[in-house]
């Protein structure tokens, strides 16, 4: 069975270099030397906007062999539904993995949005359903439900979304959502349901995932821990009668040699030394975020204190918002790590590197061709 590779679209700017991690692409920082800020020519607006840069990345990813890209959604980002619809007609194979929380849009409306996007793209929409990860900041979004309640809500949301889409006229009377005789127009109903990537490390999340998810998505965690987690997910969802696959979202610094890769990690570490902050110290009740914060990347004095194994570095959260653990190494070593992840149960990857545009080409050209997948996993397992 083949492995799916996705890239990530940066929805709140991108850095020019991992060696100097400031969001210099896009309009999230003021214009300075070295910026590539779409929309400005010699300091004046030129008619382009940030979407023109995002479009470049999406096209680079599809040309380089990625199936599509995750489009993250946070309070400070641009919005993935808007991005997907904007790029639908100028990409050919790129699949749009839309991150959203069920509290944002009601399920029948979401079914119609997605079916229209499927029609516009020939079935290239996917969901990354976010359920936990909010805590007090959920009220910023106008959402007041408690953590475990939100998983119950996600289950109902997907019940109704799928019901109205495929089994209309559909009725359900739930705790969070209800519908009476909901359905899509026949032409929309005929489109395929999107694959659903589901995250969440809590028990409530797993229960919900087992009903509706196609892929269980995790940040990279130490391999034994991840293996146990994927094993538990597969066991639990098997028991509940639904086979789901596992996916890992991970950043990498891939270079022709390992020395160059670590030199870039070190440079990025040192360039951010003056503003150490852990991006996950915000108010959040996410279990996965707590696991990443436990690496305490911001306490390190030297970059190599953050090396927790061959080619594994927990300093990525210092370079950009997001999880701490990622892969640093030569092209061969990066491919080897991906093979190890496949061996422990990974069926799909969401990769990212900085800058997203050039690294999509680099990883697509240099790393992906070296991934041996299941063939390698047999020999790894035998070792």
């Amino acid at each position: 069975m083949s492995i799916d590779f996705f890239w990530r679209l940066p929805t709140h700017g991108c850095s020019t270099s991992v060696r100097n991690p400031s969001l210099t692409r896009g309009d999230w920082v003021p214009l300075t030397e070295g910026n590539q800020a779409p929309g400005l020519y010699d300091g004046r607006p030129d008619g382009s906007t940030y979407i023109d840069h995002v479009a470049q990345i999406a096209k680079a990813a599809e040309i380089s062999g990625f199936h599509g890209g995750l489009i993250p959604s946070f309070p400070m980002t641009d919005d993935p539904w808007v991005i997907s619809s904007h790029l639908a007609r100028e990409t050919k194979t790129f699949r749009f993995m839309i991150a959203f929380q069920p509290g944002f849009i009601n399920p029948v409306e979401t079914a119609r949005l997605t079916a229209s996007l499927q029609r516009a793209t020939g079935g290239r929409a996917l969901f990354n359903i976010i359920t936990g990860g909010g805590g007090p900041s959920q009220l910023w979004w106008g959402d007041s439900f408690a953590h475990d309640d939100r998983y119950g809500r996600t289950t109902e949301f997907l019940d109704i979304l799928k019901g109205a889409w495929k089994d209309g006229p559909y009725s359900q009377n739930g705790k969070f959502y209800s519908v009476e005789n909901g359905q899509l127009p026949a032409a929309l109903a005929a489109t395929d349901l999107p694959e659903i990537y589901f995250s969440g490390s809590s028990d409530a999340a797993l229960q919900s995932a087992s009903k509706h998810a196609d892929y269980y998505l995790s940040w990279l965690e130490p391999f034994e821990q991840l293996k146990a987690k994927f094993g538990a997910v597969k066991e639990k969802t098997d028991a509940l009668g639904r086979k789901i696959k596992c996916s890992v979202r991970v950043d990498l610094i891939a270079r022709p040699t390992e020395e160059e890769a670590w030199a870039d990690a070190k440079a990025g570490f040192e360039a951010t030394a003056h503003k150490r902050s852990d991006s996950f110290k915000q108010a959040s009740d996410s279990v996965g975020a707590a696991r990443q914060a436990a690496f305490k990347a911001s306490d390190a004095k030297h970059y190599d204190e953050l090396i927790i194994g061959p080619n594994l570095w927990t300093g990525f959260s210092l370079l950009r918002g997001g999880p701490a653990l990622g892969i640093v190494g030569s092209y061969e070593q990066c491919a080897q790590k991906l093979d190890e992840l496949i061996a422990l149960g990974t069926d799909s990857f969401i990769l990212a590197g900085t800058p997203h545009l050039e690294e999509a080409y680099r990883v697509g050209e240099e790393v992906l061709p070296l991934v041996r997948g299941r063939q390698a996993s047999l020999s790894i397992a035998a070792e």
């Binding site: 808007v82 944002f104 009601n106 029609r119 909901g182 127009p185 005929a190």
Partner: protein
């Protein structure tokens, strides 16, 4: 007087070729004597985007993606055309029952950033409870207006402040609003509609545009009432008129097309040759209409006919009068 012209995109079919439009009521059996290379490469969406571009090239000022449950999702259609359409405004029509006020405001910010502040919102909720329930919306008849008002308070609040708190019956938010490059964008222009006192009251308080339908009884007095009501709130509002339209250089042919489509002598339909339509629209402009929101079966041809023949007549007349 200046007049604007908007075109409704045919999101739920356009009464045309059954060969590619899966939303058409009856799809023809494919003609197997012709090798058809389209397979499933085309949907109604490809046609909708062509209509949008046609309306832009023909000189329309804006496009409206209607919220029709029998068709494509308005927000997706708006996004799909946004990269192709450079000048016209783009209005998405949706119900405050479709989701969170904060989230719609957030989507609007991205849209404004990418389009240069060209997004408008048209907010409306079905008055039929069964229709609403089929959309997952169980709001009571008597609460529709209050929910609309809360939706406007919250979406405008988070769109214009980065520390906005509100707790209502339908929407709430704590320290909401957008920072950094997401701040400082124009709020979408708000279109509202309806001709009840309640509808006029909300429009006076929150609307930028109020949409009446052609055939509304006592249109002139309703416009006057709404404008007066809006003035008491130290605001102004523009008036839009929504109308179906059949145009042809030959009046009889225009009438024939209207009849064929089932809209002969219809109160919400304008039918005429180019001169008479220009005259009718100018007269309506004198009644206080600022914007015409037009639609017709066979949007592509009609948008071209209106844009090439009627709009120049009107614009020339307005220039002369100025």
């Amino acid at each position: 007087m200046s007049l604007e012209f908007y075109w409704y995109l045919p999101t739920a079919g356009d009464g045309r070729s059954k060969a590619f439009d899966q939303l058409a009521p009856a799809k023809d059996t494919p003609n197997t004597t012709i090798r058809d290379l389209r397979r499933d490469h085309y949907t109604n969406i490809d046609y909708i985007t062509q209509v949008a571009r046609a309306a832009e090239l023909a000189g329309f000022d804006g496009l409206i993606a209607p919220d029709d449950a029998a068709g494509e999702a308005s927000w997706i259609v708006a996004g799909l055309i946004a990269r192709d359409i450079k000048r016209p405004k783009i209005i998405t029509e949706f119900s405050p029952g479709a989701g969170s006020a904060v989230y719609f405001a957030k989507k609007a910010v991205t849209f404004q950033r990418y389009s240069g502040n060209r997004l408008g919102w048209s907010l409306a909720t079905s008055t039929d409870a069964a229709t609403r329930k089929a959309l997952g919306d169980f709001v009571a008849d008597g609460d529709i207006a209050r929910r609309l008002e809360e939706f406007l308070i919250v979406s405008k609040g988070v769109g214009s402040s980065d520390d906005f708190t509100f707790k209502g019956e339908f929407f709430e938010v704590l320290k909401g609003g957008f920072g950094g490059p997401l701040s400082g964008w124009q709020l979408p222009e708000i279109s509202l509609s309806g001709d009840t006192s309640e509808a006029l009251e909300i429009s006076a308080g929150y609307g930028d545009v109020h949409v009446f339908e052609l055939g509304t009884a006592d249109l002139a007095s309703k416009i006057a009432r709404l404008k007066a009501l809006t003035a008491t709130k130290a605001r102004t509002i523009n008036i839009a008129l929504k109308a179906r339209i059949f145009a042809h250089d030959d009046l009889d042919r225009a009438a024939l097309e209207a009849k064929r489509a089932g809209f002969e002598n219809d109160a919400q339909t304008l039918t005429g040759d180019y001169d008479s339509l220009a005259e009718d629209l100018l007269l309506l402009g004198e009644l206080g209409v600022d914007r015409f929101q037009l639609f017709a079966p066979h949007s592509l041809e009609t948008a071209y006919r209106i844009g090439e023949h009627v709009l120049p007549r009107i614009r020339q007349a307005l220039r002369k009068a100025a």
